[in-house]
Each structure stands twice: as structure tokens, then as C-alpha cells.
């Protein structure tokens, strides 16, 4: 697992209060990890904070799974 993926996983575990082994690449925040729409907004904010990037709303709407978040951040962080 990449360093970015590890950091994403840690944030997801903290914010959603889920077991780390459930946070797999294909896990959907809403369907698999119990998040609601406000949780996903907060998660995106936490990613922005952790990685020092700005995630525009239209991009945020495409981040539905752990893997979506990792690939966005891999492409958009220096």
C-alpha cells in the first residue's frame, strides 16, 4: 500500500469510527463504511487538510470509495 493510501486509511478510520480492515480500496464510504452525506463532506475536508490540496466540489462528488480518494490524491499532490 502506498504512503498516500496509508494516510487516507488512517483518516477514514478516525472519522468514521470503523475497523481498519474494512477500509479496503473498493469500500464505498456510504454503502460499506456507514457514512452519511455530511460525513463525506467532512472526509473530503480532512483529506484537504492532511494533503494540503484543494478538492473542488465537482471533484469531491466523484470520490465515492477509498480507492477514488487515493487515486485523486496521488494525481493531485506533488
Amino acid at each position: 500500500m502506498s504512503e498516500i493510501a496509508e494516510r487516507v486509511k488512517k483518516i477514514v478510520v478516525e472519522h468514521l469510527g470503523v475497523d481498519a480492515d474494512k477500509v479496503t480500496e473498493n469500500a464505498s464510504f456510504i454503502d460499506d463504511l456507514g457514512a452519511d452525506s455530511l460525513d463525506t463532506v467532512e472526509l473530503v475536508m480532512a483529506f484537504e487538510e492532511e494533503f494540503g490540496v484543494e478538492i473542488p466540489d465537482d471533484a469531491a462528488e466523484t470520490i465515492l470509495t477509498v480507492g477514488d480518494a487515493v487515486s485523486f490524491l496521488e494525481k493531485n499532490t506533488a
Binding site: 472519522h15 468514521l16 469510527g17 463532506v41 475536508m45 484537504e48
Partner: protein, 410 residues
Amino acid sequence: MVTPLGCGVDVTWNRILAGKSGAVRVEHFEVSDLPCQVACLVPRGDGSDGSFNPDDWMEPKEQRKVDDFIVYAMAAADQAIADSGWSPAGYEDQIRTGVLIGSGIGGLKGIEDGAFTVRDRGPRRLSPFFIPGRLINLASGYVSIRHQLKGPNHAVVTACSTGAHAIGDASRLIGLGDAEVMVAGGTESPVCRLAMAGFSSCRALTTGFNDRPLEASRPYDRDRDGFVMGEGAGVVVLEEYEHAKARGAKIYGEIIGYGMSGDAYHITAPAEDGDGAYRCMKAAIERAGVTPHDIDYVNAHGTSTPLGDEIELGAIHRLVGDAADGITMTSTKSATGHLLGAAGAVEAIFSLLAMRDSVVPPTINLENPSVETRIDLVPKVKKSMNVDVVLSNSFGFGGTNASLIFRKVA
């Protein structure tokens, strides 16, 4: 209930009867530049020995989204619903059960933090839970979601009268047929720098007891100099009488009177003639169909402010006249501090327990009464006595007054 004396009804009641105080010196934030440095704080711990462990009542990831007043309300509501034995399982029972939990000021700590976030880090850093975690009616909202209570969902905001108004209004909703059962009460978590500074600024808080917190809340005493801010929640389950009888519910008492009035005088000071307090109690008595001679115990508003205590006492003398000799009145705020929007609800519970156990909690720290009265203020030590009818008063900023009357059910 969750109070500065402990988490739960039994521990709080035992400690208040033992004459304990919940006041401490505030140490979890900077107070050195504040005129008042004491407060009554809910004792935190692992849940043993009456301590409050928030994790017992709300998941940590949910706690993070809300101010403590919501966590306290969840805890108090869980306790009250469990004690009542009423768990509406079917849809029909759910839609006949409502929630009415108020708060005086809601999530002030979260508002304080949120304002700093926007100023220092920009609006994009403000949590999506900022609003729903601060709104006063979200206490009722969270409780309704957890227990699937789909009847009226309401909240009261009347400063320090909130808890009494919530219980009174909820009983009216049952009387009018809007619900069969109401989970009602008040909750508050005001102890932060912003609230301490604000209440200090309007000269409401004690300032002379920063090195003696246990003695700071001293209603009716000549050395009192302001109230001690407290936190916590009180929640009761109200039920239509026949509904409760039919299911064999444990009944602590019956609400027979509820009175309300406005001072129309000043935003923070009580009217000096006590007329608002008098009319409020009179309305409750008339509604209850009792006379002043029937009242055994008055749970006073009695916040330990120089003005308010004597004005309330004067209003009660005007109300009861020659029945004063038979009245026992105490301020449980001497022990709990002033729980603001939760006070009226917590004190309603104390009133019910006084009837159940035939004992009245004392007014602690009352060494030298500032006025002479024929009413027994029960200084320092509890009083065993039969209690059939109780009057509980709550008065708030804005000149808002509420009185509740409870009667023992034979």
C-alpha cells in the same frame, strides 16, 4: 439525569441528600483573567462511582460532531426511557410518543470554536456538523432518532426557565391529545470561556469564592454574590394518566399545575416587586385546584444572586400568606449550581423524589439568612417530612417565569 453531583438519578439524589456540592475551580480552560473562576462540572470518569463516561452514551465519532449538551441529553433520555419501561416498538406507539427537550443556550462552546476556525483557517475548514451539532432542537432530534420517537418533536428556549417550560408544555401536548407519551426536559453545557465571560459581564456570576468553590452557591445567605454556572441534563417521561395506569407504569407523580408569566420589566434583572413570579405560581396553583395550605415543599428557583433570592421569597410570602409556617422551601442549586436550561428539569426530578422518599434536600451553605422568614429553608441538613404536593419554580432572563406543581399518586 446528568448533574455536577454525578451521572444518574440515584447517585445525584444520594449526594444531594448528603449535603454535597458539585462546585469546583475551573481548570480545563484559562480562567485567570475571568472574575468568576468556579463552576459546577459533571464529574468525568470511566463511569464508575457515579462518574460520567460519554462513551457509555454516544459513540466517540458521534460525540465529536456535537456539543456536550446533546451528549448529556442522550444520556438523561436513555436513563429516563429505561426507567419508564416504555419502549415503543410498533409504528402506532412510535407516532404517539414525542420529544421536547430544550436548552438555554445550546452549543456555545462549539460556536466559540467554529468562529475561531472561520477567522483563522477560513470557511472551507468549518465542519458540516457545525450547525447540526449546535442547534438547540438537535437534542430532541438525536433522542428521537435513537429511540424512534415519531410524535411531536419540539424544543423550548427560555433561558433558565427552559426545563420547566419543556415539561409543562409537554404535559399540555399530552392533554391536548398531540401525544400519549412525551420525553421532556432540559440540557445545558455552558461552561466555556465565552459563557463565563458573558455571564460575568452581566454581573450574574459569583466572584468572591474563587478559592472556596464549595461555598460559592449559597442561596438566601447574606454573603451570596451571584450564581455558580452548572452543566448537565434532566429528562422525564410524561405519559397520559390512563395510558400509564393501563400498562402498570411506575408513576413518580402527577403534574397537576403549570403556570407561566412574563415580568415585562428588564432583560436580566427580576422585577423588584416579584409580581411576575407571584402571578406564575398563582396560575399554577389555580390550574392545579389546590390552595397554598396544600403545598408541602417548594423547590425554589433560588440561584444565589443578591436580588433574585429575596424577590422570589417575597413573592411566595405574598402567595401563601398565613400558610407560610407550613411551607418548606429549598434551593437545590446550592448543591448543583445553576444548570440554566436544564435546571427546571433537574429540579422537577428532585421534586418527584422528595415525594417518593419523604425527604427534602437541604439548602447547603445557608449560614446566615439575609432576611427573616417563617418558611423553613432547611439549611445545610436534609429534612424528613411527608411530601404530597410540590411547587417547582424557574425564572429566566427576559422575564420569563414557569411554575410546575406535582402531586403524589396514591
